[in-house]
């Protein structure tokens, strides 16, 4: 909210500087957004006397002027304004000054042979408006030599604060003044409404037929002459960024900001039928004061006359019954509306108005009668006329309530032992009244304007909460909520910097583990992938639906209802999709060879379980070119190595894993696999991306990827390791090359070989795979190295032969493979 310092001083008697005031506002929760000092840019401009203005000797459209800017010296100024004339008072800019409207710094110059040592300014040149028909023509009594900004009251800093949603009362200059006074920076000036005599009976009446309006007042003023507001009012509204419209409308805007009391004025002659009814909308369309049409629904509370909807209650008035320059009879509306309904109506119609902002935060329910008097008085003062009686409907709601503060809670909750008298004085300065006080506590009445204190609001207990637990919690809340409100008020005025910081104590000298095993898995997976050479990314969880569809059928439940951009509308089915897009972006920048990883959620549904954590990796392009190791395209085995590295790091028993060729559809069906532990648990997938995915993402490839499902990995068993197997005898290694059908998997051969002689065979490793001219069609050669580990004694040649024969037999039995 904005207000000029002079307006604040109408309510606050203070000697504090602007900085003291703004620092205090920030400290007590009315955070300063900025201070605009319009006078600063106008500082060099002075009121000047145009002693002489004659036709320029060499130019038809220019005038040669002699100007006195207060120092008695005559300055020659060439001026192009048609209204420059001898004897006028104008605004003079000396050489060296910066002209805000043109962005030029003035220099002494010569225009067609006549010296020009300065400039006479228009409003537009001063940045004060659009008026550029001529130079500013000041009244004859304007004091020559005085700074224009001071004379025009523009050197009045405008303070802008952000008001938090709980502080409807601070959306008024008086509310801000009250807080500053309570914080010790001045005295709140008394304010009392005048009493405006009622000379006739209002022809317009209220009828409430909607629960959104508990109480509404109105008053007719007849015989008014509407027109432009006086300068002081227009200046105030201009200073806070409002456009003066006409006196009647400006008066309502004045009270909105002065007292936080939105008002509305109807042109009484345009009200049909004499009764304004507060009722539910019925699908009618009406033109609002912002020149937009709105169709009101049953959830909206409207103000209607016999001809239809005239206003959206608490949000915006209608154009049809608004006050214009020719209005002679005005009907003033001063209402109380339900904050929630105003908020919902405002949001539904997407109308942000000063009235809505205040009604939805709650306004002072006790202020209505006084506001009607004050507004009627100002209407009569500015527009003349006489007032009717006050008409009303509904009744003042029972807003009175009390709150109790146990003094020990200031330290017990707030951490600061504020002296009791000081705490009570703070509350009183804010308008709380002491109802009762003893050594341990004080009970105060809550001022009518503080809707946020000790407010009766509903709890929203968690679904499925145990009723007994919920009831105990609700009881506790009733006992302490209002007290917390009061602790906050006292601390706010005292300043939170006064609260001494206390370091947390820990239960023991050494902290417990901070991460759960699941969190540790994620951290370890991230580090392992990075150590594998993949660089970690953090990418958006959403992407374009068409691109998401390349990876999995898109679920409409995971399509954002209000995406911020068309290419960010679908939650990603796997982080691989994000990484593949990242690889494509990098390729487009000239970096086709990248290795990227991400640990993040895959989205399969809206429940927590359907958002599993996935460690994903993507490699694109080729390995680096090097004189020792030639570059090669990345392949599925790179991705397999990445995911196996993660699984090994996470303590998965690697010998128990099996690989099946049934990876998700975004992979190349012939170059991808699924890593399983047991028949059901899928731990990881890997492979080359499907060519359709590559062309869909516009990447040339190759691109390979892997995903590790971190939530599927069982907790590693924390048991102690057994004694290590350290035989005293040298192991023996023998190579076997098997000719098998091309359909036989390496895993089948390795598994068979390993099982041939369990006690003797310590390891089996595949070191060559060949398919081509040198073997018959339909066959391939798989070469494995088998490690025999003797335990009792060195093996004899015969024993080695026997064991080798068992290996060959076992492989042949399992796969049909024959030794080459």
């Amino acid at each position: 909210m904005k207000f000029p310092l002079s307006w604040l001083r109408e309510h606050l008697e203070t000697t504090a500087t602007v900085t003291e005031l703004t620092d205090t506002l920030t400290r007590i929760g009315l955070e300063l957004e900025g201070v605009a000092d319009r006078g600063a840019a106008l500082a060099p401009f002075r009121i000047a006397h145009v002693v002489e203005a004659v036709q320029h000797p060499n130019a038809d459209r220019l005038r040669a002027c002699k100007v006195d800017a207060g120092d008695g010296k005559l300055v020659s100024v060439v001026c192009g304004a048609p209204n420059a004339r001898t004897g006028m008072k104008a605004v003079f800019a000396p050489p060296g000054s910066f002209i805000p409207g043109t962005g030029v710094t003035l220099k002494v110059g010569e225009i067609r042979g006549v010296q020009s040592a300065g400039m006479l300014l228009s409003m537009r040149e001063m940045g004060l408006g659009e008026d550029h028909d001529g130079i500013v023509d000041l009244p004859a009594d304007a004091p020559v030599g005085e700074a224009y900004a001071d004379w025009a009251k523009l050197s009045d800093p405008v303070i802008d604060i952000s008001v938090t949603p709980n502080r409807g009362d601070a959306l008024s200059v008086r509310g801000v003044a009250r807080d500053l006074a309570a914080a010790g920076f001045g005295t709140l000036k008394p304010w009392a409404a005048p009493a405006v005599p009622a000379v006739f009976s209002s022809a317009v009446r209220w009828d409430i037929q909607h629960p959104a309006c508990p109480w509404i007042l109105g008053r007719t003023v007849r015989g008014v002459k509407n027109g432009p507001s006086p300068q002081w009012l227009a200046d105030r509204l201009t200073a806070i960024g409002l456009r003066p419209i006409n006196a009647l409308v400006d008066i309502t805007n004045f009270f909105t900001f002065d007292l936080g009391r939105p008002l509305h004025v109807f042109d009484a002659d345009k009200i049909a039928g004499g009764i304004l009814t507060l009722r539910a909308g019925a699908g009618e369309t009406f033109l609002a004061l912002n020149n937009k049409e709105y169709t009101v629904a049953a959830e909206d509370c409207v103000i209607a006359d016999a001809s239809g909807v005239q206003s959206l209650a608490g949000v915006i008035g209608g154009a049809a019954s608004g006050c214009e320059a020719d209005t002679t009879t005005v009907f003033l509306e001063c209402a109380l509306f339900d904050p929630i309904r105003v908020a919902l109506t405002g949001r539904r119609h997407q109308i942000v108005s000063d009235a809505r902002q205040r009604f939805e935060r709650g306004i002072d329910p006790a202020l209505l009668p006084d506001a009607v008097e004050a507004a009627a008085q100002m209407i009569i003062d500015l527009c003349g006329g006489e007032a009717s009686d006050v008409v009303s409907a509904g009744a003042e709601p029972a807003w009175q309530r009390t709150a109790t503060l146990r003094f020990e809670r200031l330290a017990g909750l707030g951490g600061l032992d504020v002296p009791q008298d000081e705490a009570v004085a703070s509350l009183q300065a804010l308008g709380f009244g002491v109802v009762a006080r003893d050594a341990a506590s004080v009970t105060v009445s809550v001022p009518s304007w503080r809707n946020d204190i000790a407010a009766a609001t509903e709890l929203d207990p968690g679904p499925g909460l145990d009723p007994a637990r919920a009831a105990a919690a609700a009881k506790g809340r009733d006992a302490v909520e209002a007290e917390a409100d009061l602790v906050e008020e006292v601390l706010r005025l005292k300043g939170l910097d006064a609260v001494p910081p206390v370091s947390l104590t820990v239960a023991g000298p050494v902290p417990q583990a901070t991460l759960t095993p699941r969190q540790t898995r994620a951290a370890l997976a991230r580090r392992t992938l990075a150590a594998q050479g993949l660089t970690e990314c953090v990418s958006f969880s959403f992407m374009a639906m068409a691109q998401a569809a390349l990876f999995a059928p898109t679920d409409p439940a995971l399509t954002l209802s209000n995406p911020i951009a068309a290419d960010l509308d679908q939650l990603r089915p796997t982080p691989v999709a994000s990484l593949a897009l990242a690889a494509a972006r990098n390729a487009a920048r000239g970096f086709a060879d990248v290795a990227l990883c991400e640990v993040g959620a895959a989205f399969r549904g809206i429940t927590p379980e359907a958002q599993p954590l996935v460690a994903a990796g993507v490699r694109a392009g080729s390995t680096p070119r090097n004189w020792l190791a030639p570059a090669r395209g990345v392949d599925a085995m790179d991705a397999k190595a990445d995911c196996l590295a993660v699984l090994a790091a996470l303590g998965v028993p690697m010998e128990a894993l099996s690989i099946t060729a049934d990876a998700p559809g975004f992979y190349h069906p012939g170059q991808s696999g699924t890593v399983r532990q047991g028949p059901k648990t899928v731990l990881a997938t890997f492979g080359a991306l499907h060519p359709r995915v590559l062309s869909g993402l516009d990447i040339t490839g190759p691109v390979v990827a892997c995903e590790v499902y971190l939530d599927a990995i069982p907790e590693p068993k924390r048991r102690r390791k057994g004694v290590p197997d350290l035989p005293a005898f040298m192991p023996l290694r023998r190579d076997f090359a098997f000719l098998v059908d091309t359909s036989v998997t390496a895993e089948a051969v390795l598994r068979a070989a390993r099982g041939a002689e369990r006690t003797l065979i310590a390891g089996v490793a595949l070191f060559d795979a060949y398919q081509g001219d040198k073997v018959e069609a339909g066959k391939k050669s798989l070469a494995v190295e088998v490690t025999f580990q003797p335990r009792e004694r060195t093996l004899t040649d015969a024993e080695i032969e026997a064991a080798s024969a068992k290996v060959a037999a076992a492989v042949e039995k399992a796969t049909g493979g024959r030794l080459r």
Partner: protein, 356 residues
């Protein structure tokens, strides 16, 4: 030594000196000391020498044999050394050639910051808690005292998903990490302290706002935790995290629906240089407060018995400040050049004993 022995000595020495390699050297060795070598022949003939000269001749021969054996061995060592020299010279490589490539991977700055946060808050007795990105309306708003009509909702720029059944409150992408507070309160035994780092979403996209970003939530509940503890905890964290032991920290009254009293926290910095610490300017860095009694009650905790504090902090914000990263948007762009510039060594994880 007689002339013939002397001649043999000189002759052998000259031959050894001329031997260029081990093959020539071996021929000399065999020619002198071998079975039919010249010196061996002389020794065999010793028996034929007159007895009165035999002793003298024998001594001279033995002396010559020792001298030649020594000379031959010395030559072998010299030839070995020369051969090794030659081999080493032939095996010389250009050691300025690049080694086999090993492109290291790196950790994203956001992950790094979240690790550091876990380490620091861990030392203060906090555990890390988690919650899903897609949240129910109740977890994200209702539990936290933000009912449907609340003005604060408008500030949240919430992303919505289609409601599960028509008319039901639609699921949301969590707008803050605060829903983890609700989950922790419902699930954990009291007292407890948790921090919850994670992804958050708001429908806002410009130079300083991203539709996805990260926050860390803190929640400490006990019987006697006060606002003083909140201040102490945050000051301890901020000074450790930024590595500035006297970092100015300022606390201002504010409002959040889920805390009371509420405060915003500023740190001292220099607006012109961006340096933290001195400079006289203040930079808002996080929001915090004592947990609102309604929030505790909504989550089944009796606020007349239990109380505590909560805070929420932007992860990107503090990361940018700590490392002088000027722009928010590249965090999510996965530009390999940016990642290589700002990424962290995966083997140097954040550990207090190594310094965060």
């Amino acid at each position: 030594m007689t002339d013939d022995l002397l001649a043999l000595k000189h002759q052998t020495e000259a031959a050894l000196a001329a031997a260029a390699d081990l093959r020539a050297w071996d021929a000399i060795r065999v020619g002198v000391l071998g079975k039919s070598g010249s010196l061996t022949a002389l020794l065999k003939e010793l028996g034929k020498v007159a007895p009165d000269q035999r002793r003298e001749r024998g001594a001279a021969l033995n002396q010559l044999k020792d001298a030649l054996a020594e000379a031959i061995e010395a030559r072998r060592v010299a030839l070995d050394a020369a051969a090794l020299e030659a081999r080493l010279a032939s095996e010389r490589m250009d050691v300025t050639l690049p080694p086999r490539p090993a492109q290291p991977g790196l950790i994203h700055p956001i992950s790094r910051t979240m690790e550091e946060m876990a380490a620091i808050f861990g030392a203060m007795g906090f555990a890390v808690a988690e919650g899903p990105d897609i949240e129910s309306d109740w977890h994200n708003f209702g539990a936290l005292n933000i009912p449907a009509h609340h003005p604060a909702r408008a500030d949240h720029d919430t992303f919505y998903l289609p409601p599960a059944v028509p008319g039901a409150a639609p699921p949301v992408l969590r707008t803050h990490t605060s829903p983890v507070q609700a989950r922790a309160m419902l699930e954990r035994g009291l007292p407890f302290r948790v921090v919850a780092p994670g992804r958050t979403y708001r429908a806002d996209h410009d130079a300083t706002h991203s539709p996805m970003f990260h926050q860390i939530e803190g929640l400490a509940l006990g019987r006697d935790i006060t606002l003083g503890h909140l201040k102490g905890c945050l000051i301890d964290f901020l000074r450790t995290f930024f590595g500035i032991s006297n970092l100015p920290v300022r606390f201002r009254s504010s409002y959040f629906p889920f805390t009371e009293p509420s405060m915003e926290v500023d740190i001292g910095w220099n607006r012109k240089t961006g340096e933290l610490g001195g400079g006289g300017d203040w930079l808002e860095i996080l929001g915090s407060g004592m947990v609102h009694p309604k929030v505790l009650a909504n989550c089944g905790i009796d606020p007349s018995v239990w109380q505590g504090f909560a805070f929420g902090m932007g992860v990107e914000r503090v990361t940018m400040l700590k490392h002088g990263i000027p722009d928010l948007r590249p965090f999510y762009d996965s530009d390999i050049r940016w990642l290589r510039h700002y990424g962290f060594n995966p083997l140097a994880s954040a550990m207090l004993h190594e310094g965060v």
